[in-house]
Amino acid sequence: MNADMKSHRRKRRLAVLLIGTAAMAAGFLLGEIRSVSAEEAGQVDVYSYRQPYLMEPLFEAFTEQTGIEVNMVYAKAGLLERLKAEGEAGPADMFLTSDLPRLVEVQEAGFAAPVMTDTLAANIPAQYRQEDGKWWGLTQRARVVYASRDRVPEGELTTYQGLADEKWKGRICIRPGDHPYNLGLIAAMIARHGEERTKEWLRGVKANLARRPQGNDRAQVKAIYEDQCDLAIGNTYYMGKMLADPEQRKWAEAAYIIFPDQNGAGAHVNISGATVLEGADNREEAVALLEFLSGDKAQEIYAQSNYEYPVKPGVPWSDTVASWGEFKADTVDLAVIADLHDEALRLVNEVDFNAGP
């Protein structure tokens, strides 16, 4: 019957389609699995919270120098949970983060292996590493104030405390208070002034905001350019990145950098860093990578391409970075700051910072 033939043809077509798809999928899966399980010597597997496009040139330079391939999984969150789920048998050898608190979390979860070599000890000063070598700082950046060239005379603001002064009412822009960068700064204020005074300060800053906290650090500097505000809080390296971008250059040029607290404790700095993981299959390679990242060549790449401050003494700053001038950095124990993040978030919530002025 016609209908029978038709349904038969349809079935055959469906079968061909299904088998084809299955074959394609199987081939694809096999290919992926092979590429993943090739865990021979000469490789190092990295979980990273640092952006891939920043790390790739560094990894390429490392591979070129040593022949060791670097494999990476990058995510914005959840890699620590992956580490916990995979346990000892997991493939990761090294963990990279863009801020210290998350590195400390890895350590506190018991995954950080102590590492100490002469090269590392020589490259990274003691204040930027855990005493047993369970984490190592690789770059630093300061969290500073960007001020409008036109509307803020030099010397009018010199401290973080000053941001709460009434004269700035309606003139400050900042990204949401619960962002890790702001939490780091608030944690530093807690370490310095205690919880009560920091809360008062935070209330003052909130009252001075020009708008509800929103956007990223660059968006705040852009808002200075647009005359929406006169002061913005941001990390130093964004200045370099904006200057290098033809479209954003004018934003950066509308502002200048103020390093606060130069007569006091110094500007708040945060570090990016790495840790070698407990039970790493490729520990030797991971240590080699860590040594490479702390060495002259990598430190210079960090400084040149990402406008961060090298942790290794003596590595030249890029011209852009040098143009902002020398500054005094806060020397408070970075691990203490990491511990205070919780407290900082509570304060942000208690004053309902993100609701804006």
Partner: protein, 560 residues
């Protein structure tokens, strides 16, 4: 009597359904387990006394905004396009699906760029009116709750449109004609006949939109709108309190479950089946003059805001940085995204048909409940769901590895964690409900007597499914495949966490570039996500339109 394969005895069927459903529900259960065993930390009290009420309120406001928005846009466009003819109707019929292919976070980014102070819109206004500073005039802030509601409505309404359109097409014209002869006006016919008949499908669409809305983090994060997901990520990531985060996820889940339950309760009292088998494509009514123009405009706007405008802006951005963007291994990225999407779509639809059909045949109560629970992955934020997948997979891998080491002295490493299999499983868990809801609402429109007739005529349970149901709900099946495929290609948070080493898709590449603030370069992969979704949208839209005439096809005539 047809004994059928033993697989289909009721007990075996219930067992199998229960097993599959529990497997899929496992990650959500894992999140619930983390939540319930974690104990109530003092974070809850702190949150409740400070920002949580505001977060909850924002989540509810957003859900209401998006719910109303997608209902209006989706249903109105579907009704106009299926039942009427007006300039551009045949083009808009499929073009209205295209916003599905555009990730909401990308749309949000594009509108920020367009509508913020420095954007071209406000810039033009300032030039026109001679305004100097932001204090000279008022302009709606895109980075706001309203802005998020707008972006999500424009990104999610195709779910409602698609399901409403399929439902309108599968409706019998006779019902409408009868209502007209009984004195209903056109509006009455829509309100009292077509809408109630399509209601289950429309509600499925709205529920999908609400689940997406409540679990979204990308858009609300970009707009700094503080919702429950914001609270969840703060508790989890900043306070390092995984249990607290899971507890907030659980609250979200209970909220969604409540909505689903309410919707089902409302539906139980009214069951509608397609009562006639002689289905004819509804003749489209031609709209003339201003009515035609109005219909064109009304249907064009959602397409314009949800797809065309963002696509044009992305294309312009990509053009500016084409050379750098093309240095990415582009073909490989596209192939990988498409294969992942295709494999996940087939997997989801196969499981969905199995679950929906066995429930229709009748399964034990626990099995039916489990089948329902298997749908909740969609309501959990992707990053949280990823943790739910990691925990059981990691446990399995560690156990197997431990056994192999103690028994044979060899380490096999991780078998499932960090493989494509883990990714596919996560997609199944997260997107099953898209397929399940679509397939189920398709099946629900087939009256039970159809099953009886087929069984009387000698088909077994599988035969009935293969020869009667699947052809009849072809439109719904294709819709299900499309929905899952497009969503997998867009999926970001779970893919980021679960993927193997050096494994990039279009979405992760776009995200990595955007995270590095290379927005112009991120535009090309974003556009490619939309284009990869475009082709299946076209194919499937055509197939659905063809399925419109299925009532007249010989297969069904033979079976009737």
């Amino acid at each position: 009597m047809d004994a059928g394969p033993p697989l289909f005895s009721e007990r075996a069927r219930s067992g199998l359904t229960l097993l599959v459903a529990l497997l899929v529900a496992f990650p959500v259960a894992a999140v619930a387990w983390i939540a319930l065993t974690g104990g109530i930390g003092d974070n809850w009290q702190h949150l409740w006394e400070t920002v949580l009420p505001g977060y909850v309120l924002n989540s509810i406001k957003l859900a209401v905004l998006v719910g109303i928005g997608v209902f209006l846009a989706g249903t109105a466009c579907a009704w106009l396009v299926t039942m009427h003819d007006f300039p551009g109707a045949r083009f808009l019929e499929w073009a209205l699906l295209l916003p599905l292919a555009m990730p909401a976070y990308v749309v949000a980014f594009v509108y920020t760029d367009l509508l913020e102070y420095a954007g071209p819109v406000q810039g033009t206004l300032r030039d026109l009116f001679g305004w100097q500073t932001p204090r000279d005039y008022w302009f709606p802030e895109i980075r706001s709750l309203g802005g998020a509601g707008f972006v999500m409505t424009m990104s999610f309404f195709p779910y409602v449109y698609l399901l409403a359109r399929t439902a309108f097409l599968e409706q019998s014209l006779c019902a409408l004609e009868v209502s007209r002869t009984l004195g209903c006006t056109k509006w009455d016919a829509f309100r009292r006949v077509a809408l109630p008949l399509a209601w289950p499908s429309i509600m499925v669409g709205i529920m999908l939109c609400l689940m997406e809305t409540l679990s979204d983090f990308g858009v609300v994060d970009l707009f700094s709108v503080q919702t429950l997901t914001t609270g969840l990520f703060n508790v989890w990531l900043v306070m390092g309190d995984a249990a607290g985060g899971a507890q907030i996820a659980l609250v979200l889940l209970v909220f969604i479950a409540g909505l689903v339950w309410l919707e089902r309760r409302g539906r139980i009292r009214r069951a509608y089946y397609v009562q006639t088998s002689r289905m004819k494509s509804p003749p489209r009514q031609r709209l003339y003059g201003w009515r035609g123009a109005g219909a064109s405009l009304l249907c064009f706007l959602p397409f314009f805001f949800g797809f065309l405008l963002p696509a044009i802006i992305l294309a312009r951005l990509s053009g500016a940085r084409l050379s750098t963007a093309l240095s990415l291994d582009f073909a490989a990225l596209v192939l990988r995204s498409v294969t992942l999407g295709g494999a996940a779509a087939l997997l989801c639809v196969a499981v969905a048909v199995g679950l929906a059909y066995s429930t229709r045949l009748g399964v034990s109560r626990p099995a039916a409940l489990a089948a329902r629970a298997a749908s909740f992955g969609y309501a959990v934020p992707g990053a949280v769901l990823a943790i739910g997948v990691l925990v059981p997979f990691g446990f399995f891998d560690r156990t197997v590895n431990g056994f192999m080491e103690s028994a044979f002295g060899v380490s096999v490493g991780l078998i499932l964690s960090g493989t494509v299999a883990a990714l596919l499983f996560a997609y199944l868990v997260r997107f099953l409900t898209l397929a399940h809801g679509t397939v189920e609402s398709g099946l629900s429109r087939l009256r039970p007597s159809l099953d009886m007739a087929a069984r009387t005529l000698g088909r077994g349970a599988t035969g009935t499914l293969r020869d009667v149901h699947l052809p009849l709900i072809r439109g719904s099946l294709l819709t299900a495949i499309l929905l899952v495929f497009v969503d997998v290609i867009k999926e970001l948070p779970a893919t980021l966490v679960l993927r193997p080493f050096n494994f990039d898709t279009l979405a992760t590449t776009a995200y990595s570039l955007a995270a590095d603030e290379r927005f112009a370069e991120a535009a090309l992969p974003s556009l490619a996500i939309a284009l990869a979704g475009l082709l299946p949208v076209l194919i499937i839209s055509r197939a659905i339109t063809k399925a419109r005439d299925f009532g007249a096809s010989p297969e069904t005539e033979v079976l009737m």
